[in-house]
Symmetry: C2
Subunit: 364 residues, 2 copies
Amino acid sequence: MRKIGIKEIEDISVGAALLGTGGGGDPYIGKLMAIQAIEEFGEVTLLNVDEVPEDALVVPSSMMGAPTVMLEKPPGGEEAIEAFKKLENYLGKKIYGTFPIEAGGVNSMLPFALAARLGLPVIDADGMGRAFPELQMVTFYLDDIPATPGVFADERGNTLLLSTIDNVWTERIARSATVQMGGSTMVAMYSMTGKQLKNSGIPNILDLEENIGKTIRLAKENNQNPITELLRLVDGFQLFSGKVADIHRKTETGFARGTATFEGLNDDKGKTLQVHFQNEHLLAQSDGRTLCSTPDLIAVLDIETGLPITTEGIRYGARCVVIGIPCNPKWRTEKGIKTVGPRYFGYDLDYVPVEQLVINGVAK
Amino acid sequence: MRKIGIKEIEDISVGAALLGTGGGGDPYIGKLMAIQAIEEFGEVTLLNVDEVPEDALVVPSSMMGAPTVMLEKPPGGEEAIEAFKKLENYLGKKIYGTFPIEAGGVNSMLPFALAARLGLPVIDADGMGRAFPELQMVTFYLDDIPATPGVFADERGNTLLLSTIDNVWTERIARSATVQMGGSTMVAMYSMTGKQLKNSGIPNILDLEENIGKTIRLAKENNQNPITELLRLVDGFQLFSGKVADIHRKTETGFARGTATFEGLNDDKGKTLQVHFQNEHLLAQSDGRTLCSTPDLIAVLDIETGLPITTEGIRYGARCVVIGIPCNPKWRTEKGIKTVGPRYFGYDLDYVPVEQLVINGVAK
């Protein structure tokens, strides 16, 4: 158990942006929401999963919607409280604590904003170990924990309590409703026990995020390049260094899709890299060869500062390092690959772990 | 208080098809569902609104979805029960009775199917006095009775409990979710007290439907033409007699839209009539002149038998009489016209009551 204040939030938000692999929404907005709530209501208690009673009711606080919509319309705190209260009433049990559903910009910060307002602890675990665009893409789903009953609340005061036969139906119905509800909703779903979170969640993700953020911050203070240290911290591989030559984006059916093309620098001179994203970076290919694919993580970092760059933040001419990070082993199971592997996202290739695609940290 | 058995259902379903003005789904499916439930569970008690305790909780049973979808996939009884049970649980109060939300083919019959299964009475009132395609188009809306909390259940077991700030938001979100849920859902919404139903509903609608059905049935048994008697019964006007020369249909965003063109017969020889529909017949124009428009009722009847013809049932060459019926006065208010008048449906004309458009039952 420890306290999370504004300094910790700053570091966590940077780490969350890196593990968010370009998606999960602008970390800046999430950070501002968390900081505002902590300034108003005080620091938040962070618990390890082991510190949570096994029969406690725990619920992640998240939002559903396209990051590009979120940029124009940051969510307020009331919708999240409304979603939690409605779910609590429906379940007839008090919610003990909250946690992030994913490691991504906004969704990694929302639990702190809500926890500060409601006086709840945040638990150090998430359901992805990264970010993914659809709500059934959580380790809880792999363990058959249902997403519903789940509450979706919009900024106007409309709420929707969904009970579905499986999590793919939740995604389908809630996504369509969210588009109608202005493009984003605050969500209370995947309610579970402390024991279920311990078994199915990915622990210590906030710790890792904070360490990533701290590494980048200290490197900047000492005028050093943090990338080697970052790779060590996340067991990652440098895939490419290059500058952004082209970027295509479109928002359709609630997702930010597109491709960023990089022209090689230094050792990668003469080569190109394409990073395909659907909210998150999902596939990195250099001249037709796959270097890393979902569910492994692909992060785009500033070549000097190591700061992660979101898909909305990628600008023409930016000089970047693209890194690959092995995903949590839970995703490398048959059900995991079926749920979040390349083919699910429409890429016609088999998943190969990133560490098999590189030798000594260099693309084969 | 009286009992409704299979014979009454047969008559009511015919009357509902006439007042349904071509929409509300195929009356045959609704009739079969009601008859099946009555055969299995026994006759249903029908109450006048005056017989319902003022503080009783009453909830209409209805379905949302495109009639053309319904033809392929008739709804089962379990979804309707699930929707009622979820709403009952949420409200924490037992539902006293049910009633039709509209006078239309399927929705006028569903309350009987559900009431038979649950052992509830049906109350003789509805929320339209006709049929309309959107869920805020009820007299309850004119009196600010909220549609939500409302439950939408699909055939698979998915349910959605919606709470919205107004009924237009209910329509918007539920319509989109219903499309995702296979095109049709069983619905429990517009819960209200017995007193509210007495004040805001349109009473004795099932009585009227039964009388219409009986008139058509007896005329057939006696080899007579029932149309003059029908016009007397509904205070209606004959607008046109003709045969179907052309029919255009398309199903988009969950609605069956189209236009039927009639070539005049008898007194109308040499003239044409166009009936525009969006689930229901909404506008009848002869050679550019409006003869009747929503919210007044436009029914297409077989020229010999007087049997009402739905928009799906209109066939090339069919010989028909098209009649206009003044709507309930509640619809002729400013809010009523704004909610269901011609402009709401995209027709660029002011509403003029049908009785001002005809003289002595003949188009001016």
